[in-house]
Amino acid sequence: MEDMLFYDRMQFAFTITFHYLFPQLTMGLSLMIVYFKGKFLFSKLEKYNDAAKFWMKIFALNFAMGVVTGIPMEFQFGTNWAKFSELTGGIIGQTLAMEGMFSFFLESSFLGLFLFGEKLMGHKLHFLTGFLVFLGSWASGYLIIATHSWMQHPVGYEIIENGRFVLNNFGALFSNPWLLPSYLHNQAASIVTSSFVVAAIGAFYLLNNKHNEFGKLFVKTGVVFGLISSLLVAFPTGDWTAKNVVKHQPATFAAMEGIFETEEGGSEIVLIGQPNMLEKKLDNKIAVPNILSFLTYQEWDAQIKGLNEFDESVHPTNVPGLYYSYHIMVGLGTIFIGLMLIAAVQLFRKKLFKTKWILWSLMFMLPFPYIANTTGWYTAELGRQPWLVYNLLRTADGASPTVSSGNTLFTLLGFIGLYLLLGLLFLMLAGKIINKGPQLNQH
């Protein structure tokens, strides 16, 4: 039973982690492509259209990867988490079915038109199809986070016989206080990824002294979008999200922050340290006093409950994993703001394209927004464990009763092999598109 649950969890974690590498770029990038195409319509400068077309190629490749790795996600609720699906399907099935009906049809119908229809439709309609693809991908994110929010903070339900969850208020799924902060936080983070990718490719061209005109355009656009989105991720959306956690999942909050003991006179914010689960304390800690209390409650001496005050049965299952995920996310988020701020200042002083070290930094920063997004999701998911539906349904009670661990390990290994191949192909082809670069006035 134990190893069965372990493989089920690993398979879901692996497939969702890999999957989300692609949508996080497509959601942000679709916005930036719409921006380039819109700018072309206003300015009539061909380079903006070429930029839109170049990013469309990267987008199409990412989108295809996102689609093929996304279908297993919906299937796995049933294949590996049958009991969870049976008990909660009447509720989370609503939002998941809506995702299919409202966003996947929109995205997929118009993506074909967007990729192949420019000649047939003219620029204005082409812009519109791009906008609809953007709308579809953001609607998809919204409905997924509505589902996620219900699992974190269940609303609008009652529990009937056999432990079955029944929906009794449809509107509550969308007025869930967890939903809006998480959605905005996630979408801003998705724009962070796309901005850093656009800026990194631009920096690559400038440092290579190739496609210089596009290099400048990409760096400039990436830095402007990147600064705004990095700031939005932290404040207000990140702050808002954290306040939800402290209010509704206080034990999770304590574990995230690495606060084991309740401190009188205000809690410190931990910058570095390793959770020691044997002695229930933090080793090698570097911390700044009272900051956490202030950030959380805007009072320097507000009390924050330490993890040791909560009963072990409600502790998050993997405290160190949760703590590290959260700290990596926050640490990277801070670095993003810092780098983008410096780059924006140099851009404003018209020196950015000559400041080599910033260009190098932008280029090498490319993988880090992916890590930050992933660890952000790990924070949310590990923070919810040991629950599938917070405080109501345990993860151990949600797995498929008839699927043995041998079968799950078989499919997990299959997914690992297949996704390794997908990842290699993706990198190879993305590298090829980037190396070739945008084409001037291509028709």
Binding site: G78, A82, F104, S108, F116
Partner: protein, 358 residues
């Protein structure tokens, strides 16, 4: 309300089979009949802008199954664990085969992805037929051993095959001679369907040859359908009792045979879309006749201990089903509009779309 969602679900599945069915069929044609680069191009152009949207019908139908019939979703997806995961892998291979082949101009690269696309299309057609066979045959609900359930009454697990390969053994497998027979029906029917789509959407040199293929395969399909109907009695003693009780249901078999016999005239059709219309009728009729014959069962039980799963004992609660009607009605209007736009922009022949050359 359950009945409404049942009809919605079956309609969505039928639409999926008709739409993605032509993609699978085009893949099979691509595998066996497209030798020249020009023919291959014609085929990928004919499905390129559509396959992704077609596949959404599967995801959307899965979503509706999840929300309207959560117990059926949970039971069947965990019970058919292995073939479903394999279907996922095949869908991935098919998609990357299509999307990646044009990215690098190299003979080895292209022939690898051609095969990936073709073979996974073939296996998918087979698996979907097998899946239908499994639903008709039923499963050992509750995993009954010696008259005792070893799991909750609506859960089960099927291995890929059992040693006897028989649909009547106590311990069943996904593959047995009955389900494989339906799998072959699926392959033949979708090959015809895919060929008709290519004839409809391209001016390929292949088209004359494909008309002969459709004509000849149609005899095979007719023979397979007759054999399936004969052996049906072995699986289900009274397969036609629903039709005898409710005569208007005969409309579904009539549609099936209209489609089937209509295709024998494939060589003399003036409009290129006619063949596609008839093979769509066959697929629609075949699927609806099958589910009508087991109605209201959605997954029969092969033991006497646990009851069949019917659309009434697997459905979600009343409120959720009712509230779903509102958003679903809005969504259906939108989806219809998207499809109209999509098929109007890409109307007519598709030879010049340039799919896969971006």
């Amino acid at each position: 309300m359950e009945l409404f969602w049942y009809i919605v679900l079956m309609t969505m599945l039928a639409v999926y089979v008709i739409l993605d069915g032509y993609d699978f069929g085009a893949g099979i044609i691509h595998l066996f009949f497209a030798k020249k680069e020009k023919d291959k191009k014609a085929i990928t152009n004919a499905i390129g802008p559509f396959w992704d949207a077609n596949e959404v019908w599967l995801i959307a139908a899965g979503g509706v199954l999840f929300f309207a019939f959560p117990t059926l979703y949970a039971s069947s997806f965990s019970g058919f664990y292995l073939p479903l995961i394999m279907i996922l892998w095949l869908l991935i291979f098919r998609a990357i085969g299509l999307e990646l082949r044009g990215q690098i101009h190299n003979t080895i690269w292209q022939s690898i992805w051609d095969k990936a696309f073709g073979i996974s299309s073939l296996l998918l057609a087979l698996f979907f037929g097998v899946a239908l066979g499994n639903v008709v045959r039923g499963v050992n609900l509750g995993s009954v051993v010696n008259g005792v359930s070893t799991h909750e009454a609506h859960y089960f697990f099927l291995p890929l095959w059992n040693p006897t390969f028989s649909p009547q053994a106590e311990q069943l497998g996904i593959l047995d001679w009955f389900t494989v027979l339906l799998g072959i029906v699926g392959v033949v029917a979708l090959t015809i369907h895919g060929a008709n789509w290519i004839i409809f959407k391209t001016n390929s040199d292949l088209n004359e040859k494909l008309k002969r293929v459709v004509f000849n395969l149609n005899f095979v399909l007719l023979a397979l359908v007759i054999i399936s109907l004969l052996v049906w009695h072995i699986i289900e003693p009274k397969p036609f009792h629903n039709f005898l009780d409710t005569p208007w249901l005969w409309i579904f078999p009539i549609i099936t045979f209209t489609g089937l016999f209509g295709l024998f005239k494939v060589k003399s059709f003036q409009k290129h879309g006619m063949g596609f219309l008839f093979s769509s009728l066959f697929l629609f009729g075949g699927l609806t006749s099958t589910v009508a014959s087991i109605f209201p069962k959605v997954l029969p039980s092969t033991n006497n201990v646990n009851p069949d799963l019917t659309l009434y004992n697997v459905a979600a609660h009343e409120y959720g089903l009712s509230v779903g009607v509102y958003w679903f009605a809005i969504a259906v209007v939108l989806v219809a509009a998207y499809m109209v736009i999509q098929y109007r922009v890409f109307k007519g022949k598709m030879d010049d779309v340039g799919y896969g050359e971006h």
